[in-house]
Amino acid sequence: MLEVRDLRAGYSADNEIVHGISFSLADGEFCCIIGANGCGKTTTLKTVLGLLPRLGGEVLINGRETAQMRERELALHFAYIPQIHQLPFPYRVKDMVLMGRTPHMARLAAASADDKRVAYAALCQMAIEDLADKSYTELSGGQQQLVLIARALAQQPDILVMDEPTASLDFGNQQLVLSRMRGLADCGTSVLMVTHDPAHAFYCADRAIVLHEGVILKDGAPTDVITAETMLEIYNTEVRVDRVDVGEGRTGCACIPIVRKSALDERLLAELMRGKS
């Protein structure tokens, strides 16, 4: 159970980005945070994780204030899946995943057989055990993301925190990752995920929080929250939200932008084309 109360966050006191937001996350709940660029999604995540100093408010796990926890204790509750990035050194996939066991290792001890067993189970759960001996840096973006998720699983957290985990994945891998995350939530792990794609919230979330200019605009079931009016307000984009019958008695929701032909400025266009024959 994660509770966030009146959280204020930002990179410095005179540059507050998130202005007092409150929400809670039950065990096994899958919550997506959506919002425009710069609305404070990532800042919120990082502050909840304790990676950014808090400007105010409380973050509680099972009633305990996280500010009083050491890194190691925090890492036993939270696993953070960052966006993929360049690594300076080509660690092997299995070692990357084994690093997820760090908070479980005694201070001076190396990885135990049990640590390796859990890490291997995480590899298998993400179906990447064949990549175990490959270098992380040689993998495709999608494979790297799966490795980072496997590492988070090896951490055995209560809450998975993800910052646009599907940003670099192809269409198929996006659904693969999301369905695995959904499965984890069904087994009791809470998931807090920042996403740019409203469709992802429809697909796997129990709940969506819409963040707009540092405050929570809406909070509720994805179908209630992600509406044409909300999308217009936060993205300044007209959309149509529709229910789609996907067979087997199941329905899905789709959020489709109504693309209008954008008018380019004629005069600037002429400037742009200057000198081009």
Partner: protein
């Protein structure tokens, strides 16, 4: 993927009845399957350092040590070495050739060879750990000003005509002081601690090098200046038991600290946020690594002068052999660094009739060596 929301997507999950994707592990596994899985996991995580690397690195060092005893104006063969050591500890009264053999072994060769081995291992381990911590394969152990600091201290000692031991202690202290100032200055850059450290190191190095120049300016041109200049080039020519005594304790502390942090160094090299979210107290781990690397570097410079390049090259060579995992990288770098510096030192004392400052040789050999590794190393760093 900014275009994601444009795709007329998607979706398939009726609210309320999620698929049970991860069948719970307890019920599905019987004991036999669990045991089989444990074996599979153990095999997947079986460390596959090539046998020849495991054997060749220590054996190579031992071989080079034996060769180093044999090289020089007074050659000591392995048989004589064993003989001499046995006799020394039997407490026999020695005379004639036996006495001079004993003196060569215990007063000259052992201190020098041990010191070279320790300094080679120290600079390589410090370089490897700094490269991991700063997430940059082009970092060398004097990044935070340890060499510049120790250099100034030694020059002051030489200028004032202090005894060798006092000069070395002074060099060691100023090396620590320089890094301390760099770490303190780190607070100037609030948004990126690593960048702050690098900046602090550059400023402190410049400051202490300027200090060294002032000392040189003040030094007597006929007497003090040559000894200062010669010292700054690095040499083991005066190595004796006192140097060994000064070096051994800080070195052991440094080696032990770095080896204790070997796993955390892996995690730290993923970057600040990731390391913290994996439960590492990054501040403390970084300080421990800095303290360890600074002890190793400062004491090396204090006893042998400034020896460049080795802390930059050897970690690369080690990474090419055993990969970037610090659990294997650090021991491999220490063994390689010790062997490499010992070879270079053998050249330094045997190539010409006069002793060549080893700092010159490590640079001369280091540049082409580095170019070759750079060319062939495809997996050492990305």
């Amino acid at each position: 993927m900014s275009s994601a929301s444009v795709e007329p997507t998607v979706v398939a999950r009726s609210a309320g009845t999620p698929e049970p994707a991860g069948t719970s592990a307890g019920s599905a596994f019987d004991d036999a399957a669990a045991a089989a899985f444990a074996d599979e996991a153990a095999e997947a995580y079986d460390e596959k350092v090539p046998i020849w690397v495991k054997i060749a690195l220590p054996a190579g060092l031992v071989g080079i040590v034996l060769v180093s005893f044999a090289l020089g104006k007074y050659s000591v063969s392995p048989a004589e070495l064993v003989d001499g050591i046995v006799r020394h500890f039997q407490g026999q009264t020695l005379a004639g050739d036996d006495l001079s053999l004993d003196k060569v072994i215990f007063n000259i060769r052992i201190p020098r060879i041990l010191l070279v081995v320790m300094v080679g291992a120290a600079l390589s381990a410090a370089g490897a750990s700094f490269q991991g911590m700063f997430r940059n394969p082009l970092v060398s152990p004097d990044l935070l000003g340890a060499s510049a600091g120790a250099g100034l201290g030694a020059c002051i000692g030489l200028l004032l005509g202090w005894s060798t031991i006092l000069t070395q202690l002074m060099a060691f202290a100023t090396g620590l002081l320089a890094v301390g100032i760099a770490v303190f200055m780190n607070r100037m850059v609030k948004y990126d601690r690593l960048l702050g450290l690098v900046l602090g190191g550059i400023l402190v190095s410049t400051l202490f090098q300027a200090g060294t120049s002032i000392v040189k300016l003040c030094a007597d041109v006929n007497d003090k200046l040559p000894s200062i200049t010669y010292w700054l080039m690095g040499s083991f020519s005066g190595a004796n038991q006192h140097d060994l005594a000064i070096a051994v304790i800080p070195m052991i502390i440094g080696f032990v600290l770095i080896m204790l942090e070997r796993w955390k160094l892996n995690v730290l090299s993923l970057g600040e946020d990731e390391a913290r979210s994996l439960g590492v107290n990054t501040k403390r781990t970084r300080m421990l690594v800095i303290v360890a690397a600074t002890l190793l570097t400062s004491v090396s410079v204090a006893v042998s002068g400034v020896i460049g390049w080795i802390g930059l090259i050897i970690p690369h060579l080690a990474r090419a052999l055993v990969g970037p995992d610090h659990r294997k990288l650090l021991p491999a770098a220490m063994l390689l660094g010790a062997s490499y510096l010992l070879i270079v030192d053998d050249f330094a004392r045997c190539l010409l009739s006069m002793e060549i400052p080893i700092g010159i040789l490590t640079a001369l050999l280091g540049v082409p060596f580095f170019a070759i590794i750079f060319h062939y190393n495809s997996k050492g760093w990305s």
